[in-house]
Amino acid sequence: MDLPHKESFFNIGPERYLNYLFALIALVFVGYHIYRRYRIWRLGKPELRFDRIPARVSLILRYALAQLKMPRDPWAAVVHYGIFWGYLLLFVATTLDGTTYWLKTLTGYEVLVGPTYLLYKALIGNLGGTLALIGLLAAFYWRLVIRPPRLRYQTEDWVILGLLLFNVLNGFEVQALRLAMTDLRNHPEWAYWAYGSYPLAVILSGLPDSVLRPLHWASWWVHVLASQFAVAFIAYSKLEHIIFGPLNIFFRSLEPRGTLKPIPNIETAETYGANRVPDFTWKQLLDADACIRCGRCTANCPANLTGKPLSPKKIILDLKAEMDRAGPLYLRGRQPDGPSLVGDITTDDELWDCLTCGACMEACPMEIEHVPTIVEERRYLVLNEGRIPRDVVNLFNNLERSGNPWGYPPTTRADWARDLGVRTIAEDPGADYLWWVGCAGSYDERNIRISRALARILQAAGVRFAILGPEETCTGDPARRAGHEYLYQILAQQNIEALNRYGVRKILTACPHCFNTLKNEYRAFGGFYEVVHHSQLIAELVETGRVRLERPVGQRLTYHDPCYLGRHNGVYDPARLALTRLPGASLVEMRLHRHQAFCCGGGGARVFMTETRGHKRVNHERTDHVLAVNPNVIATACPFCMIMFEDALKTRNLTDRLEARDLAELVAESAGLSLK
C-alpha cells in the first residue's frame, strides 16, 4: 500500500506485547494509590456533593480542562498549558495509535491512513510533543532563572520535570529513528508532517541500518518503560493532582464562596469542630490530597503577606500530613496518639489570623476550600477546647449578653434613627423592604452617619422601608466565623423568628457580612429572603432617576471591594456604576480589585481583635494599595471596611489627603441631601 500510514510496532518483535504488561503494572500502582486515599477520605464525615451534576460537569470543563485560573500568572499559564495540553495530545496520540493497531490486526481495517494519518501526526502527536517541550523548557527557565518564591523547590519537583522532559525528547528520538529508516527513504514528503522529529531524522539518516535498528529498538523500550514509570509515579508524587485535582474541582461547593455549613445536631454532638482525621468531612480530606503545593493561596493571603504565621497552604498540607500519619491507623481501628493537629501542628495563632476573606480559595487552581476548614478548626478551639483569645471572649460575651459585638444596650439599637421618622416593621408591616441595619450601622458612630445618609436617600427616593429596631440583634456572623457555631445558631434563630413573624420577604442591608449571612446562611435554619445590598438598590435608584446626582463630590475615587460582597457573592458592579455617575468624579481602580481585592483586615471577626502578629497591619497594607493610585476618596460599601480604613487613615496621619466614605454618603451628598 502506498498511502501514508504508520507501521505500528515497527522494528519491535513479538516482545511488543510486554508493553501492555508494563502499562497494566503502572495502572495497578495508580489504582491502588487511589483506593488507599479513597479509604482515608471515607474516614471523613458525610457531605452532600453529588447534587447538580451538570453544574459540576461545567466546573470540570472550565477549571480542569480549560484551567481558566491559569492565565492569572502568565508564566504558570505557559508552563501548565504547555505540559498539560502537550501530554494530553500525546496521550490521545498513543491511544489512537494503539486502537488503530488492534483494529487493523483484528479486522484488517485501517483508519489512520492517507491524509488523516499525516494530520494526526502533525496535529496530535507532534503538536503534543512540541507543546509539552515548550512548557517544560519554560518550566525550567521559570524555576531556575525567575524562581518565583511561591513555588517549592524539592527533589520531587525536579524529578518530575526531568522525567517529563526526558519522555518528550526520547519520544521525538524514537520517531526520528523510525523516520530515518522508513519515510525519509521512501516518501520524504510524508516525513515533514512529523516536524518535531524531522530535523533529528535528517541528521540520523546518514547512519547505517546496523546502527539505526538496534538503537531504535532500545530507545523504543526505554520510551515504554520511562512512560509507564511516569504513570506509576503519579501514585508517589504531586503528579497525583492529575487525578485528585479534577475530582476535587468536580466536587467543589456550588454555594457562594465561603458559605459555612452548620454543625449537624449540635445539641447531641460529642465533639465539635475538627482536629482528628474523622472530624473532617470527606471533601475536606479530598481537598488536602488535591493540593499541588503551588503556593498561590499563600501568595494571595493578606495575613501571610503582612507577615503573620498563617499560610493557607500550610493549613491544607498539615491536614494532609495528619492523614498520612494517622489515616492508616484509624483504618486499622486504632486511635492514634501523638501531636494534635490543631495546636501542635497548625498553631492557634495561625487559625486566629484568618480573615476568611477567601482570597486563597479564589486563587487555588484546585478549588480547595480553605475557609471552611479553617473555621472548622476554629470551632474545635472554641467549642471543644475553650482556647480563645481574650478579644474573642469579649466578643462572645457581648454578643451573648447584648446581641451586639460591643456590648451596647440592646434597647438603644434604633436610637440612631430617632429624629429621622424611620418606622419599625411593627409600625409599618407593609413596607417593601425590611432594612437590616446591623450592629455597626446601629451603634458605631462613624457607621451611624452612613445609616443616616442611606435613610435620607431612601426617603428622598420614596422607598417604603422599615427597620426591626430593638428586635434586631447581631446576625451572628462574627460568632460563626470566630468558630462559635452555637452562639451563631442562637442568634440566627432569634432573628429568623423575628423576621418570619413579620412575614419579611425582602431585606435591604448596607453590611456585606449581614448580606451574606441573611442571604446564604439563614436558609439552613428556615430563613429564606431576597436580600439586596444597598449598593445594588442605590445603583438602581440612580439609574432610574429616582435619585438625581447633581453636585460634584470627590475628584478621584477608588473603590474597595468588600470581600463578602465581591469575592463571596460576586457583586462587583453596582457600586462602580453608581460611583461613575457622580458628577465630577473619576473612578480609578487599584491593582488588586474585584475578585482579587485585598481584604481590609476586618473579616472573619478580625475587626474585633487586636492585630498583634506580622510586620504590618493589613489595613495599612491595603491603604498602601489605595495610595498607589493616588485618589482623594476611598469609597467603601461595608461598615467593617470603613472602620478599618478610618483606623488606618488616622494612625498614619493621612486624614488631610484621603477620606474614607461610604457609597451612600457620596450619593446622598451629590443628591443634595443632609448628611447630619
Binding site: Y272, F396, T412
Partner: protein, 264 residues
C-alpha cells in the same frame, strides 16, 4: 479538695447610667439589661477550677439571689463547676452584707466538708466588699482579703495578699476564706460540652427553712444598715487637646497640666 465559690449575678455594670433608674433609694435596671456574674467572682471560679484541676476535688458554686441567678450558676457549671446551689427565699430579699453573709455561711455549713471558700473581692453592683469577711466571721474561719494568687502545698494554702505597695505571702490552713482580686486568674470561656451539660443540670434551691435560718435575722427584716440616699452623680467630662511640635514637647506639657490638676 472541696471548694465553695460564692457568686453574685448582677446587672451589667458596664451599661451606661441611662440604663438605670433610681426609685426609693433602690436601683432599677432597664428591662432587657444584661446580667452577668460579678467582676472578680468569675475570677474566683477560675481560681477554684485551676486548683481542682491540679489537686482534684469538687467545686460548688452558690449564689444568693432571685431565680434569675440560676443563669449565673449555669454559667459557673458550664465553666466546669461540679455542682451549684441557689439560695432563694422571699425572706432573703433586700439583705444587707451581714444578712447575705449569714445566708451564705449557713449554706456552706450545710454543704459541710469544705476546705476553701472563694469569693470575689467586692461585688460589681454595690462595691461594699464585706460579705467575705462576714462569712469568715460567721463560720469562725481565717480570711485573706484580697488575694492575687493562691496555691496549695498539700497542707496549707499560700496566698498572696494585696496591699498598697505590693503583696504579702500568707500561709493559711484549711478551711479558710479567700477573696479574689482579678489578677488571680483569667476566667475561661465555657466549652460547648460544658454549656450543654450545664443546660441539663438541675440546680437545687435552698430556702430559709432548708438552712434553718430565722427569717427575722436576714433580708429586709434583718437589715442592720440602711441606705440614706442614692443618686447618680453629675459627672462633667471636659476634653482638652495638648498640642506641641514633637512628642517630647507634648509629653512635657501633659505632665505640667496633670501637675496643675494635682493628678501627679
Amino acid at each position: 479538695m472541696n471548694i465553695v465559690v460564692c457568686i453574685k449575678y448582677v446587672p451589667d455594670w458596664e451599661a451606661p447610667a441611662s440604663q438605670f433608674r433610681i426609685e426609693d433609694s433602690r436601683l432599677v435596671p432597664a428591662p432587657g439589661i444584661a446580667y452577668r456574674i460579678s467582676d472578680t467572682d468569675d475570677e474566683a471560679i477560675e481560681a477554684a477550677l485551676q486548683l481542682k484541676e491540679k489537686h482534684g476535688g469538687r467545686v460548688t458554686a452558690i449564689s444568693l439571689g432571685p431565680a434569675s441567678a440560676r443563669d449565673g450558676l449555669k454559667h459557673a457549671l458550664a465553666m466546669g463547676c461540679d455542682q451549684a446551689v441557689l439560695l432563694d427565699d422571699p425572706a432573703f430579699e433586700d439583705s444587707d452584707a451581714a444578712g447575705t453573709a449569714a445566708v451564705l455561711a449557713a449554706a456552706i455549713r450545710k454543704l459541710g466538708d469544705v476546705d476553701l471558700i472563694l469569693t470575689g473581692r467586692q461585688a460589681a453592683d454595690w462595691d461594699q466588699g464585706q460579705v467575705h469577711a462576714g462569712i469568715a466571721e460567721f463560720l469562725g474561719l481565717p480570711a485573706v482579703i484580697p488575694a492575687r494568687h493562691i496555691e496549695w502545698t498539700g497542707s496549707e494554702f499560700i496566698v498572696h495578699r494585696i496591699y498598697e505597695e505590693g503583696y504579702e505571702e500568707i500561709a493559711v490552713k484549711p478551711p479558710c476564706v479567700v477573696a479574689c482580686s482579678n489578677e488571680i486568674a483569667e476566667p475561661r470561656y465555657p466549652t460547648l460540652r460544658g454549656i450543654m451539660a450545664a443546660s441539663r443540670a438541675q440546680i437545687p434551691v435552698w430556702t430559709a427553712a432548708d438552712l434553718g435560718i430565722d427569717p427575722g435575722r436576714v433580708g429586709r427584716a434583718g437589715r442592720r444598715t440602711r441606705v440614706l440616699r442614692l443618686y447618680a452623680p453629675q459627672v462633667e467630662a471636659k476634653c482638652e487637646f495638648i498640642e506641641g511640635e514633637n512628642p517630647e514637647e507634648i509629653a512635657a506639657k501633659l505632665v505640667q497640666r496633670l501637675r496643675e490638676e494635682k493628678l501627679l
